[in-house]
């Protein structure tokens, strides 16, 4: 589903990704962990074109979005192609990024209508179904400002799902939430995983990573230091940095 090869990303003179590669199969749930500033968000953002890579190759479902030639120059496909390819991925942000001027329902149907041209009557039943699924049917006509953080994040998940992505990217979806609200969001994500959604989740929730992810990636200073099945990595971390990180987390 996702093939990222040797991604390099610089901000000015600071190299934030120093050659990160990742291959993801359909239905896989991968958790990405690592200390703050290690480049996890940047990696996700490169995958869906929120940041441009300086070197490497990105292919989504076999379609190349960016590649690097022999001279080391990185090329992106034309904008329309990039947009089409990126539409296969949905993304959930730490800060929700709901549209405050639209109600919950409008937040969900806006993209299918504007981007895909689906008729309002056709998308509304689907949106209501999604709201039901994330447990927010009652909030259909509320504005985001009236929701709790956990509810906002579940709306954000429903909004992303309404575009029917094949892959979901999560960037610390529970980090902005009060501890008592993380549970409801994690439950929704767990449910998605059980439905075999392909998911790449940056998280500090070690319990979630251990229980839901099939593979866990440990990233540090712009490099993947360890990448193994969840139970193995947590039971027996190989890299000293992983060990140190996990010791501090638990």
């Amino acid at each position: 589903m996702i093939h990222a090869d040797n991604l390099h990303k610089r901000f000015g003179s600071v190299e934030v990704l120093k050659g990160v590669s990742l291959s993801m199969q359909k239905g896989e749930v991968i958790a990405m962990i690592g200390p703050s500033g290690s480049g996890k968000s940047t990696f996700l953002r490169c995958l869906n074109h929120l940041e441009l890579i300086n070197r490497g190759q990105i292919a989504i479902e076999g379609e190349v979005m960016a590649r690097t030639d022999e001279q080391g120059h990185c090329h992106y496909m034309p904008d329309a192609d990039v947009r089409r390819i990126c539409r296969k991925m949905g993304m959930v942000f730490q800060q929700f990024n709901l549209f405050p001027h639209l109600t919950v329902l409008q937040n969900i149907i806006e993209a299918p209508m504007t981007v895909k041209g689906i008729k309002r009557d056709e998308i509304i039943p689907k949106a209501e179904e999604l709201l039901h699924k994330v447990g927010l049917a009652a909030k259909r006509d509320s504005y985001p400002a009236r929701l709790s953080g956990g509810q906002k994040q579940r709306v954000a998940i429903a909004r992303a799902l309404a575009m029917e992505p094949d892959i979901m990217l999560f960037d610390e979806p529970t980090s902005a939430l009060d501890p008592e609200l993380t549970g409801e969001v994690l439950r929704t994500m767990r449910q998605l995983a059980e439905e075999h959604m392909t998911m790449l989740v940056v998280t500090h929730e070690m319990a979630f990573a251990r229980e839901v992810a099939s593979r866990v990636i440990f990233m540090d200073h712009g490099l993947i230091l360890e990448e193994r099945p969840a139970e193995e990595l947590f039971a027996d971390p190989q890299h000293p940095r992983t060990r140190e990180f996990l010791r501090n987390m638990l």
């Binding site: 990024n97 504005y143 985001p144």
Partner: protein, 217 residues
């Protein structure tokens, strides 16, 4: 009392001129201001700088000077020189000037929208144009209503500047009568007319603000 009624006719005619200048200026300068604002923040630096220079020029010189220039000096400028009758000359000056002010308001409004809104829209597949139309600008409107309301009310009063082109707007009509009849009554009536116009505007903007108050940010 009879005198007061006798002033109404000419003053209403003046009001018609004032309202025409006001309305046509709004209709032209708001879209023009929006275009300028979008150009100003576009990724083409040169375009942004040119717009910036334009805004500086229009806000840095008196509107009356701009109007006099367009009416008296423009005909002698090579290539673009045209001779405009008084009403079009006034309108062009007002529209160009107010577009610069609106552009700054719109720009500030657009730039106050959080980057997360653009990213949220982008990952859903919105193009830049769709993001602007559906997500950013609707939120900008709510934020800029107070300054736009201010600017609009200022415009009502600024229309009185067209007297320099000898056009008979509300104020000039009043002044004519004051000088002819040696009484200040027409001034008072004119003031009432201005107040009435700004009252309607204030009320309209308040309704708009209420409408946008259904959501918080």
């Amino acid at each position: 009392m009879d005198y007061l009624l006798s002033t109404l006719g000419p003053l209403l005619q003046g009001t018609a001129v004032t309202l025409q200048v006001f309305l046509v200026t709004i209709v032209l300068s708001v879209p023009l201001g929006l275009c300028l604002a979008l150009l100003r923040i576009s990724r083409y630096r040169i375009v942004g700088r040119l717009v910036n220079a334009y805004i500086w020029l229009m806000r840095g010189t008196p509107l009356m000077l701009q109007m006099l220039f367009i009416y008296f000096a423009l005909p002698f400028v090579p290539v673009i020189g045209v001779r405009l009758p008084d009403f079009p000359a006034a309108i062009v000056a007002f529209a160009l000037n107010y577009a610069a002010y609106f552009a700054e308001i719109f720009r500030a409004g657009i730039q106050s929208i959080d980057r997360g809104q653009y990213e949220g829209a982008k990952v859903l597949g919105f193009t830049y144009g769709q993001t602007m139309r559906r997500i950013v600008l609707p939120q900008v409107i709510k934020r800029i209503l107070p300054p736009v309301s201010n600017e609009t009310i200022t415009l009502v009063k600024d229309t009185s500047l067209i007297y320099v082109l000898a056009m008979n707007d509300l104020l000039r009509a009043a002044r004519g009568m004051v000088q002819r009849d040696f009484t200040t009554t027409p001034f008072i009536v004119a003031a009432a007319f201005y107040l009435l116009m700004t009252l309607v505007l204030t009320w309209g903007f308040q309704r708009l603000e209420k409408r946008y108050a259904v959501y918080d940010e």
